[in-house]
């Protein structure tokens, strides 16, 4: 589904991502972890086209997307949610998701129709599946953090992605909200046969649903594989737990 | 026409103009660099600084070197004006969209422009050069007024002085930090509010000083505010918004463009300003020495 080959990115002499090779198969759920500053966000930004890698190639469904503009990558079937909630605060929840349907189905060039009428059924359905139906007419900017994250997910899902990138989906959530979100993600991934790639700091989350884990440290990929293997990996333990044993 | 002395004279003219532009543009750049506000009213501060200098010179009339005192007083008054405006009004707009801040400074241009007309009328006013610098010398066949020489030296002196303060002192470090990250600085205990006010006052001081010092060379007229602000924008764009030495460089370049541009393209000098600005913004928006706005 997604292949990353030898990708690097340097900012002003600081190497944020250094020669990373990574791949994820269709339907897999993978996580990218690493201490702060390891380059996880940069890595994501490189995949989604917000940044252009200095070297290396990125392939989505065997098509080269290296350096392609973000909107094109999105239309090819990649969705993304952001670490800091990134929604349309002045629109209602309904309008947020409806807008995503409109743009993704490429109706944006329509100067004549009435946007209000488009995709009402699909939007309602999606909101219902996310449990946001009762908040459909609320201003999204006024919602709680957890709800905003749900809206964010809704926007990403409205784009009918085949692969979904989630940047710290449970950041700032309570334990209960985190469990909710994980269950929601698992259900949706199963329903839509999604491929999921996410970054996380919460190790419980990672080990509960990830089928494959990649560990970044100072821009380099130091381990990759099944959760149990990664847990046993000496390098990973050193990076996370310090110079013990 | 291309005699050396003539060219040299043009060059010096451009240099003098550049130094005045630098004074004003550096204030503009400073305010933008720290407060992220593009102050349209900067030209108005310049103009009122000029009018105040004229006023103070008349008040101190008998004293021969009164000009210096008047200029200083004018600059300080503008600094005070800037401080009051920032404290009372501008600061409430920081949390709002940029458009509101821009419109606020534009409103100031309208108000200050008319206030100047009300107080000082629309006649041209002028100030004579201070006796100590009333003379002139001949250099390379060009007669240079001593006052202009003084300006040509003052400009770099102020530049170096500021650079020193910004780079080498604790105060300068705080200012640079404030430009980069307001919230963190606040968390560290620095009183960001007063830093902003201080910076605005300093920038205004420079504009007022520029206006005061230009009076022996140019007459004071309504409309000088709009004229100078557009030129200051260009200088700051050429050099890079927020970059100190960029502003200096931009002023030097623009001063010479003005000076020689009129010779080479007399019909197109009216375009020079806008075309130059457009060209820089298209090709290299962050100017020569600036950093991209992101």
């Amino acid at each position: 589904m997604l292949e990353v080959h030898g990708v690097s990115k340097t900012f002003d002499g600081f190497t944020a991502v250094d020669g990373v090779d990574f791949s994820i198969a269709r339907g897999e759920i993978a996580a990218v972890i690493g201490p702060n500053g390891a380059g996880k966000s940069t890595f994501f930004n490189l995949i989604t086209g917000h940044l252009r890698p200095d070297v290396g190639r990125i392939l989505l469904k065997q098509r080269d997307i290296t350096g392609a503009p973000p909107h094109r990558i999105c239309l090819m079937g990649m969705g993304r949610s952001f670490q800091r909630t990134n929604i349309f605060p002045k629109l209602t929840v309904f309008e947020n998701v409806q807008a995503a349907f409109i743009t993704h189905r490429r109706c944006g060039a329509n100067f004549w129709g009435l946007s209000d009428r488009l995709y009402r059924a699909e939007t309602d359905a999606l909101l219902a599946s996310l449990g946001l139906a009762d908040k459909a007419n609320a201003l999204s900017g006024a919602l709680s953090h957890g709800n905003q994250k749900q809206v964010e997910l809704g926007i990403a899902l409205a784009c009918d992605p085949e692969i979904l990138l989630l940047d710290e989906p449970t950041a700032g959530m309570s334990a209960a909200e985190t469990r909710e979100t994980i269950r929601l993600l698992q259900r949706i991934a199963a329903e839509r046969s999604l491929t999921l790639l996410f970054t996380e700091h919460d190790m419980e989350v990672v080990f509960s649903i990830a089928q494959k884990i990649a560990v970044l440290h100072q821009g380099r990929l130091i381990a990759e594989g099944k959760p149990e293997a990664v847990q046993q990996n000496a390098d990973v333990r050193r990076v996370y737990l310090g110079e013990r044993q | 026409m291309f005699e050396f002395s003539f060219l040299f004279g043009q060059f010096l003219g451009g240099l003098t103009a550049a130094m005045f532009l630098f004074l004003i543009a550096s204030g503009l750049s400073l305010i933008f660099g720290v407060l992220r506000v593009l102050n349209f009213a900067h030209g108005s501060f310049y103009m009122i600084g000029a009018y105040l200098a004229w006023q103070f010179v008349r008040a101190i009339a008998p004293a021969p070197e009164g000009f210096w005192l008047a200029a200083l007083a004018a600059a300080l008054s503008i600094a005070l004006l800037g401080g009051i405006l920032e404290r009372a009004l501008l600061r409430h707009l920081y949390s709002r969209e940029e458009l509101y801040q821009l419109l606020f400074t534009y409103a100031l241009v309208l108000i200050l422009g008319d206030l100047a007309k009300i107080v000082w009328g629309t006649q041209q006013l002028s100030v004579s050069r201070p006796p100590s610098l009333a003379g002139s010398s001949e250099v390379f066949g060009v007669t240079i007024p001593h006052y202009n020489l003084f300006i040509m030296v003052l400009g770099p002196a102020i530049a170096i002085g500021f650079w020193y303060i910004l780079q080498r002192t604790a105060l300068g470090r705080i200012v640079r930090a404030a430009a980069l990250d307001r919230e963190t600085l606040g968390a560290l205990g620095a009183n960001v509010g007063w830093i902003y006010t201080g910076m605005f006052m300093l920038g205004s001081f420079l504009a007022g000083l520029g206006g005061a010092l230009v009076t022996p060379i140019k007459s004071i007229v309504p409309g000088m505010d709009v004229e100078i602000i557009v030129e200051a924008f260009i200088v700051v764009v050429i050099g890079g918004l927020g970059s100190f030495w960029g502003t200096f460089l931009g002023a030097l370049i623009y001063g010479q463009v003005l000076s020689f541009g009129i010779l080479i393209f007399p019909r197109f000098s009216i375009f020079a300003v806008s075309v130059l600005m457009a060209a820089i913004l298209i090709v290299r928006p962050w100017g020569l020495l600036g950093r991209p706005l992101k």
Binding site: C74, K90, T103, A158, C159 | L89, F104, A107, M277, A278
Partner: protein, 337 residues
């Protein structure tokens, strides 16, 4: 209060202005109608796409010159000239906008300003075509003799005839703008305004849409310029000067960015205020500046925003059990605003 079709009411009222029989009222009404189109065109950029342009007067000026030149020198029919004005202005908007949308925020604003100044300089200097500093005086009225034979309208003066024509044209333009704003395209614009980064990642080519908005705005500005040139009986370089760009900005803030009709209301208020103040004092800039500051600090939503707020509060008090509808913040687009 609720279901009164205000649009129809206002349109009817405007249609009746010539019946008052006052040259002055017709004059002011024409001014308001034409300039409100200018302000509304800017709001497509400002309120709906979130782009602050300081050079919108460029397209106003280009439209004015195009229409005047075609009618004066080429004797072209009015409607074609007007359409051409819009198209030429739109084309320049495409050219300039291409460079402008690659920049953001302050830089965008400054480049729009630079382009406007270039247009002004060209108009100022190109004596052969634009008449240079003198501009193009004596722009002819469109041929309106056919109006003389229409029963009611036959009694009106030329000024009234032109007013009615302008009113109809502007009304059609407003209908078009309304449709555009309610369309999916319009929705994408507000999405871009709210969060351009996120918009990218729902598949929006942000720059392309911004450019499209820029062109549409330029088109309508050109039409209003064409109309204004005729109304003003002459076209002059300062139509494109950057301080002229500030006027629709102020009108939009005055009326309220957040609603469709805000800028039109603002234009009306601005012109009426201008008429009143300039008859007492020459210090119009001082007054305008003060009004602007009061607006910025006390009434950021403008006239429309403040009125909507008051109405919402009255409604809430009248029926406290009703579910609260979110109050529109400046910049929010509601289809039935």
């Amino acid at each position: 209060m609720k279901r009164i079709p205000w649009t129809i009411v206002v349109l009817a009222a405007l249609l009746l202005v010539p019946f008052i029989g006052s040259r002055f009222y017709t004059f002011v009404a024409t001014d308001i109608v034409i300039v409100s189109l200018f302000a509304m065109s800017l709001n497509l950029l400002l309120g709906y796409t979130g782009l602050v342009s300081f050079g919108h007067a460029a397209y106003f000026g280009i439209g004015a010159y195009t229409c005047a030149l075609l009618m004066k020198s080429a004797n072209a029919p009015f409607l074609s000239s007007l359409l051409a004005a819009g198209l030429v202005a739109g084309t320049f908007a495409l050219l300039f906008g291409f460079f402008c949308v690659r920049l953001t925020r302050i830089y965008f604003a400054m480049l729009t300003l630079a382009f406007a100044q270039i247009v002004w300089a060209i108009c100022f200097k190109w004596n052969g075509v634009t008449g240079g500093e003198q501009g193009l005086p004596n722009v002819p009225y469109p041929g309106m003799e056919w109006m003389g034979s229409v029963p009611v309208l036959g009694n009106f003066r030329v000024g009234d005839h032109f007013y009615l024509m302008a009113l109809v044209i502007v009304a059609v333009c407003f209908a078009g703008l309304r449709r555009i704003v309610d369309s999916p395209f319009g929705r994408v614009l507000t999405v871009i305004r709210d969060n351009p980064e996120r918009a990218q990642f729902i598949g929006v080519n942000v720059r392309a849409y911004q450019l499209a908005a820029f062109v549409v705005a330029g088109f309508f500005a050109g039409i209003s310029g064409g109309l204004f040139g005729i109304f003003n009986r002459g076209v002059f370089p300062d139509f494109a000067f950057w301080t002229k760009s500030a006027e629709p900005l102020i009108m939009t803030i005055l009326g309220g960015m957040g609603s469709f009709w805000g800028p039109a209301v603002g234009a009306a208020a601005f012109i009426v205020l201008n008429q009143q103040i300039t008859s007492y004092t020459e210090y119009w800039p001082l007054t305008m500046g003060t009004v602007l500051i009061v607006l910025l600090f006390v009434f950021p939503g403008g006239i429309a925003g403040t009125l909507t707020g008051i109405v919402a509060r009255l409604r809430a008090r009248a029926s406290p059990s009703a579910t609260t509808v979110p109050v529109s913040e400046p910049g929010v687009v509601k289809p039935n605003a």
